[in-house]
Symmetry: C2
Subunit: 607 residues, 2 copies
């Protein structure tokens, strides 16, 4: 529906002008650009960074709305300052998302467009719930929503292709179940819901189901694909060239055939009459959902793959334990090197911390990369919960205070995510007070018993209560699911939030982070984060109970804790944890790293 723009004009023209020209050509009055891809990924491949290309704003969240005469960028509070700096002088207004208005871009469109106006957004990267809201509000305002065109297909001339890096077989020793077994279980679940087909766009679900890993997404071992499963076979829509011989053979053995990536939508559109297709409205975009013929029955529900993936079996948990040893060795080696260096008067920056810690992890033969961008945050930087260190802006670690290091690795045996705060010189009493209370929060939840399968959001207040008692709080989740060499944020497993959804049950086998913190804006921040697995805690006439077993193996810096204010059971928990860390890691360390481990895991008893 969009005529191709003459390339000679386009190549040198600013993106906003190109977009407005294209808008005029297709006859829409406004364009809405989300930071999203057809897989609703957390990290976007370059191809779908249209919001960044159009506005120049690089952050991982933010929405642009564009009319013929105005442009606006909408960001949440985390990115407000950054956005105002980046957009200054570019003719793009900056507005805040929430809490006064969670959809200010719709309000903005309502205010700047007349009834009858047409708003274009790419349905292929639009979440179903977002489409529902957008459509309802624009329709109520007498406007029209168009979702069937990707304006950037024609105006973004050097647009990156769909990523097609190599994908490889995640070998059965780590993958535990075969693709055949996983498909059989999926088909049972489909049958229970009377579904003949299931369409999957979520890249972590596809990687898990196919026992394949890839390099298309930063920090996540995923590959770009959609998957259509029916009762007998499955079609993987993905660039064929990315699969090596072993992967191709494994797919064939499981009855999975590979078709070009861009044929997925047509395959949906070609579903036979009477097909009943299961789709997960949170894990499919509007464009793909809308492609399903009306003669098909749509069964909405959380994907059985999403639900199966979150429960790790005993063999997977053993792999996690081995992986935590490798991660723990790297953490100890790094910390010993860092503290020795600081003691010798070396000059360290946040960036060097990131580089050296990454190098220590890379010594493991099973390390495959970081699971997220390291947050090595000194002083006031640690008060920014999502602070990601950058070489150019990294602070020197050159005065008394706290160094917060939140980092994690992708290993063949599992994914890690750990946060500690380290004393630099002499932290203040107030810093130590915050770190101690956050430790009480960590211990409260880490040692809690709860009904097996209890929803994570309903457990959250157990962690927060010790902080609330002192008038403290933190404005991020207490924990998130963690994948087995998959995403470090594996939803729907969540320890926070105000809605309880299917898949949030904390059942034995759930692997989750626990990460309370305290942040003093412009001053300091503390967060203690472990990964834990939910294990059985026995049953009684009141049902089955569960509790957490901490998997992460890394000492806490007790110089940051006011041991005297901890309760006896809290000291006992810390001592037991440190004994476990020591006993597990000591046989695998030597020299300074071993000494550092022994120094930092000795029993405290009563301080």
């Amino acid at each position: 529906m969009l005529e191709t723009m003459p390339k000679t004009v386009a190549a040198s023209t600013p993106p906003m002008l190109l977009a407005r020209a294209a808008m005029a050509q297709v006859g829409c009055e406004a364009l809405l650009v989300y930071n999203s891809d057809p897989h609703l990924s957390e990290y976007l491949p370059e191809r779908w960074k249209a919001r960044e290309w159009l506005s120049g704003f690089p952050a991982s969240a933010g929405i642009v709305a564009l009319t013929a005469t105005r442009a606006a960028l909408f960001v949440d509070s985390r990115y407000l300052v950054l956005a105002e700096q980046a957009m200054a002088g570019r003719g793009i207004e900056v507005h805040l998302i929430g809490p006064a208005d969670w959809s200010p871009y719709i309000t903005w469109l309502e205010g700047h467009l007349a009834p009858g106006a047409s708003v274009l957004t790419d349905g292929d990267v639009l979440a179903v719930a977002e489409h529902r809201q957008l459509d309802a509000r624009l329709t109520a305002a007498g406007m029209e929503l168009c979702t069937d065109a990707d304006l950037f297909a024609d105006i973004w001339h050097d647009r990156p292709a769909v990523p097609a890096k190599a994908a490889w077989l995640h070998a059965p020793a780590q993958a535990i179940s075969s693709v055949q077994e996983k498909l059989a279980r999926l088909r049972e679940a489909m049958a229970a819901q009377s579904a003949s087909h299931h369409f999957i766009s979520a890249l972590d679900d596809i990687a898990w189901l196919t026992n394949l890993r890839g390099g298309d997404i930063e920090h996540n071992p995923f590959f770009a694909a959609h998957l259509l499963v029916n009762r007998e076979s499955a079609i993987l829509f993905s660039p064929e060239r990315i699969f090596d011989e072993a992967a191709t053979a494994a797919l064939q053995a499981a009855g999975v055939c590979v078709r070009p990536y861009n044929e997925a939508k047509a395959a949906l559109a070609g579903l036979p009459e009477g097909a009943a297709i299961l789709v997960d409205p949170k894990r499919i975009t509007w464009g793909f959902r809308a492609a399903i013929p009306t003669a098909c029955r749509i069964v909405e529900g959380t994907s059985p793959v999403t639900l199966a993936k979150r429960i790790k079996c005993a063999a997977e948990i053993d792999l996690f334990r081995q992986t935590m040893i490798e991660d723990g060795i790297a953490l100890c080696r790094f910390q010993a090197e860092f503290e020795d260096g600081m003691a010798r008067g070396e000059s360290w920056s946040e960036w060097r911390v990131h580089e050296r810690l990454t190098a220590m992890r890379a010594r493991s033969p099973h390390f495959r990369g970081l699971s997220f961008h390291t947050s090595a945050a000194f002083g006031a930087n640690a008060a920014i919960p999502h602070y990601g260190v950058a070489r150019e802006t990294a602070l020197p670690i050159d005065r008394d205070g706290l160094l917060l290091i939140d980092s994690g690795g992708q290993y063949v045996g599992g994914t890690t995510d750990v946060c500690r705060v380290w004393a630099i010189g002499q932290p203040s009493a107030a810093m130590i007070g915050d770190a101690t209370l956050a430790m009480r929060a960590l211990i409260a939840l880490s040692s809690a018993v709860f009904p097996a399968g209890y929803p994570g959001p309903l457990l959250d207040s157990i962690a927060r209560a010790p902080l609330w008692a002192e008038g403290l709080n933190y404005f991020h989740g207490t924990g998130h699911g963690v994948g087995s060499y998959l995403g470090v944020h594996e939803l729907p497993t969540l320890l926070s939030g105000r809605t309880v959804e299917p898949g949030m049950e904390y059942l034995p086998g759930i692997v989750t982070s626990i990460e309370p913190g305290v942040y003093r804006k412009g001053q300091w921040g503390v967060r203690h984060e472990n990964i834990a697995v939910v294990i059985d805690a026995g049953s009684s006439e009141f049902g089955s109970f569960a509790r957490f077993e901490t998997l992460t193996l890394c000492p806490f810096d007790r110089r940051c804790l006011d041991i005297g204010s901890l309760a006896r059971h809290e000291i006992a928990w810390l001592d037991a944890y440190h004994a476990e860390v020591r006993n597990t890691l000591a046989p695998r360390l030597e020299g300074r790293a071993l000494q550092w481990l022994l120094d930092n895991t000795a029993p405290m008893k009563n301080g």
Copy 2:
């Protein structure tokens, strides 16, 4: 649409036969009878006990489904045994509601009717959400749902009339705000939602808004009415004769006119085109909602009256405090009399406990009746959370064990609800263990600090954690809102549940019960229940915080507690609570009751 049955036939015919004859006459294959009224009341006036009239089953919950050849009663697990006993030999099957199937009556209809069948239920007593589910499922099964007839209007010949007992002005000294003020606030909230009208069926909302109380409902000082408010005036649909002169004058002064009760639906049907009517889908029945003309705009939302009513102002809370003194005096006097009598070898039954405790409450000039049926439960009866004592079946209190007394009063100044467990002879160590853990749960939540406005369901685990730690739990809510001389269960204020809804915010001014327990089926039960008000707990850079102030004034029986296993802060909480009870009640008691109070509130220190 239903021809009147000849009365001579009907009067002597069993209700099920009458119903089937009427079903045949109107041409429907099945009848669904809910235990519900047009106000979705907790306690039903006799007029709407059609389920009981039809089936003979008297409990406060349960649904009957009837076809030409089969009949079934559907009850939740609380009533299963009772239902099976009551229905034996009556040709009515009994089925369980949940957890395998929460709508087994729909499944049953699907199984026993053919496509094309018509199912009748009275839309005027059908909750909107229930209608949505019923309609969707029956439509999917190819059946038709009819909701526009009340079959009982014609076949239930001695059916009680709409209740029309006297209603009276709840005088401003207790009512705090005038009806004018409340209507003005409501109209502001309506304007904020662009609503020209608001229709209210909830009897507690109407009683609160009109500052009237009535005697139409057992245990609740409500009167049968609907209310339609527009920008300038309001119409109260209620039997006119029930209002005395003062009430009538007050209504007139506030611009509220009274119309016959049965004109409410017609008034809705007659709303002018373009009217925007606010209705609360949880507090209006399907029949009334469906009466709204399609030319009107329906604004769905929690009623501003429901939201305003739940926040008690300082003067109301002072009235609650005074009321708790009156209730506490009655509780002490009763307990002294009971314990003296037992010591003298008197014969006491659960029923006598109920009678004497009620008599003690009745000595207060402000007492207006019980707020719910007393649960005086000895031994195994206390393991039934909803046990209501009856004269015929009351147990004698004649052996060692625990006596659980859950009771409450309606007073002009407020509504009370208190539960204590009392040692009879020597309770077992296991009983004491349960009572002690439930006490730790009560103290954990009663002393918690939390962000002001935090949703109650998300605070629940703070109470349960101490029980979970020992493999215990209870399967009822931890607390519910309590009205100011209104309902003892005032929703949506709730400390439990898996859905967080508007109106569940625990804000300063919220009055709530806190009532953890432990129940050993067939053995014993413990529950400690206080009423508490949410108060301000100061603010920090992390926001405003709140905590509970306990309002209930009644000692706990420390013979039921293992003081040695309590933590220091728990003993301190109990001692401080008992000091408060003693200091407040002692000046108002004399003789044996005073001595009993002093004996039972002395400091424990370390046991």
